[in-house]
């Protein structure tokens, strides 16, 4: 079954992956695809250094909810603010309570109780789709922190509900753990590059999701792929044309380059570029194959594009991803 109609049924989609793999772009593209499919979408960013607005061509959110298109809103969420709001809501607001929340003692405590921040973000998403807030959405797409932290975000409710005996946080944790574990309501999308370390981390994350949380991801997106290198009819790579005295041989052995400042800014002859292209794509192919061994579920491939980060790039990635998932 195509993945997009399935994703459209979810209430929360968590997008995570190793740092620098284009998680935010993938999250934004998925949010736009779902909005185009008629869902009201809230796209949440947690990184205090906002970058979504660049991609979407909107004003920075500054913590507020910003309209980013038909049925699509975006918000940069400050976890600490959500924790504080939660406390204020659960505790009758006297002057003392308000002072305590603002005090360094409480702030240490809120930061020190691990998982609380992560959970409050998930709680915010759940309450948004359940219609507890003025701003309504059918689905929340969460641009989660990079892998290590992204995994602990997903695991936080389970961990806390095990650890916390009772109290309102304990109940909330239980509730959220169920929400996260329910594949009908919550989907996890993992973004990666087809390179060694990102795939290695992805393998660890898939195992963690499967074993510890009993819920595999719904989709893996291999981002930033170099284009396929044109192959000859026999299946062997085309020999790069020789417009260049230091012409390379057709094999795939590594070419030693002179080190030092020379390599710095010299304009590279096209045969060198072709060599670089072929080798980088070979890395992509090798890692895609390894990825396939680890992950048998839906895998979308997104190419590296000659576009700067911005609305144009986002539209192109949305189009590719739309085709891959339809």
């Amino acid at each position: 079954m195509p993945v997009l109609p399935k994703l459209s049924k979810r209430q929360l989609i968590v997008v995570t992956g190793k740092g620098g793999v284009g998680k935010t772009t993938i999250a934004a593209a998925i949010a736009r695809l779902l909005a185009a499919a008629g869902r009201r979408v809230l796209l949440l960013e947690i990184d205090p250094r906002e970058s979504l607005h660049q991609l979407l061509g909107t004003e920075p959110s500054g913590g507020g909810i910003i309209k980013a298109g038909p049925k699509l809103s975006v918000q940069n969420l400050q976890p600490v603010a959500v924790v504080n709001a939660l406390v204020r809501e659960k505790v009758p607001v006297g002057i003392l309570a308000r002072k305590i929340v603002a005090s360094p003692v409480f702030q240490h405590f809120a930061q020190g109780a691990p998982g609380l921040k992560e959970m409050s973000v998930l709680g915010y998403a759940l309450r948004t789709v359940e219609g507890d807030y003025k701003h309504k959405a059918d689905v929340v797409v969460l641009d989660a922190p990079a892998t290590g932290h992204g995994a602990s975000m997903l695991a936080a409710p389970l961990l806390l509900s095990d650890l916390v005996g009772g109290g309102q946080i304990g109940d909330m944790a239980k509730n959220l753990a169920q929400f996260i574990a329910d594949p009908e309501r919550c989907g996890v999308v993992l973004a990666t590059l087809a390179e060694e370390m990102p795939v290695q981390e992805l393998a660890e994350l898939v195992a963690l999701l499967r074993e510890r949380m009993g819920r595999p991801p719904e989709l893996v997106v291999a981002n930033g792929l170099y284009p396929r290198f044109p192959e000859g009819r026999t299946g062997s790579p085309v020999t790069p044309p020789s417009d260049d005295p230091i012409r390379r041989k057709g094999g795939s052995e590594t070419v030693r380059r002179p080190a030092g400042p020379l390599a710095r800014s010299s304009v590279h002859p096209s045969a060198d570029i072709l060599e670089l292209w072929r080798e980088r794509r070979a890395v992509n192919d090798r890692e895609l194959k390894r990825l396939r061994g680890i992950w048998k579920g839906p895998l979308a491939e997104v190419p590296l594009l000659p576009l700067d980060r911005g609305p144009e790039l986002l539209a192109a990635i949305e189009a590719t991803l739309g085709e891959e998932l339809a």
Partner: protein
């Protein structure tokens, strides 16, 4: 044969995730050992390929292992492990075995302490301090965990001390458990009661109990720990400590890189060259191929080359004169063996001589 501007006792390699910090740290380590300085590379999570290239496996986990190279001086590698380091710290500062055991077996410590933001970062510098005090190497190169929030690393010692600050935690918890628990002054007691009321309502009794037990068990270790964190802070600001900021190519990476370099300086650290890694080369002379089956790919490489060049230029503009910038081109494939690693190291060093 020296390392030029990198001729320091301690090099700390920092930067966002996925920019190739670990490979560069290893490459520099090899180059440093070649120059005759016994060198230790401390790293977290190298790729399998890099482990193979260095010839070290899991045996290097938390233990220095010799790299079999033909360098004049020795090159060792340690793979850092946050939990093991934390455990050892506790072992060191606990007054007796029973006290250490109370912490090890505490649920709060077991389940959660390792997930605390900043622990990984802190344990890296902590282990560094441990090795640096032993003075058995001429040079140490520390590869840091990826920091999307690059400041996590710098602030880690402060944050840990703050978090463990018995004052705050005791105020929050103590009177609730020990009636008449030694806190004087009515406002303080009121505030403490308020916090504990909220905490109880939100978190329930069990977690509070676990946390309290943890902080109690930790109390005798606290002074040692705090002093240690202070020493670690100082070590990072010594004249012989140099930070190497590694950046990915492309214009959109530059603001983050500059922000981090500036913050490092403002907080009293010494920042060495900024390294822009994995730079796509400029593309030239594709005339004959413009209409071929290569056209699309070459157009992409042309764009990437220009994009990375723009990034480097905007970075150069932001740097003041005399602040070096190192540009390391993207390799066809990552270094596979010691020779290729050393070549990479030389490529870097040649630009800061």
């Amino acid at each position: 044969m020296t390392l030029g501007q990198l001729e320091r006792k301690l090099l700390v390699v920092v930067g966002a995730g996925g920019v190739g910090k670990t490979t560069l740290a290893a490459a520099l380590g090899l180059r440093s050992a070649r120059a005759g300085a016994s060198t230790l590379v401390m790293t977290f999570d190298p790729s399998l390929r890099l482990k193979d290239a260095l010839g070290v496996g899991d045996s290097a986990k938390d233990r220095a292992v010799r790299v079999k190279s033909d360098t004049r001086a020795r090159l060792d590698v340690i793979l850092l492990d946050a939990r093991t380091t934390f455990d050892r710290l506790i072992e060191r500062y606990a007054p007796d075995e029973a006290a250490a055991k109370r912490i090890y077996t505490n649920r709060f410590y077991r389940e959660l302490a390792g997930n605390l933001a900043g622990i990984l970062e802190y344990m890296a510098v902590e282990r560094l301090f441990e090795v640096a005090s032993e003075r058995s190497y001429d040079r140490i190169i520390l590869d840091t965990p990826p920091t999307r929030q690059a400041l996590d690393f710098l602030e880690a010692p402060d944050r840990i001390v703050n978090f463990l600050d018995s004052g705050a935690i005791k105020i929050a918890l103590k009177p609730w458990w020990e009636s008449g628990g030694g806190i004087k002054g009515i406002p303080m007691r009121l505030a403490a009661k308020g916090v504990e009321g909220i905490a109880d309502r939100l978190l329930g009794v069990r977690l509070l109990g676990d946390m309290l037990e943890f902080f109690r068990a930790f109390a005798p270790l606290y002074d040692g720990f705090r002093e240690r964190a202070e020493q670690v802070r100082r070590l990072l600001r010594e004249p012989e400590t140099l930070f190497l900021v590694v950046s990915g190519p492309g214009e959109d990476r530059i603001p983050d890189t500059m922000f981090f370099a500036r913050k490092l300086k403002e907080s009293g650290h010494r920042v060495g060259p900024i390294v822009v890694n994995q730079v796509h080369p400029a593309v030239g002379r594709t005339g004959g191929l413009a209409d071929s089956q290569f056209a699309e790919g070459l157009e992409l490489f042309e764009f990437l080359g220009q994009r990375d060049q723009r990034g480097i230029e905007s970075l150069r503009k932001l740097l003041s004169r005399g602040e070096p910038l190192v540009v390391v081109p993207l390799k066809a494939s990552p270094p596979n063996d010691l020779a290729e690693l050393e070549e990479l190291g030389e490529e870097l060093v040649a630009q800061v001589r």
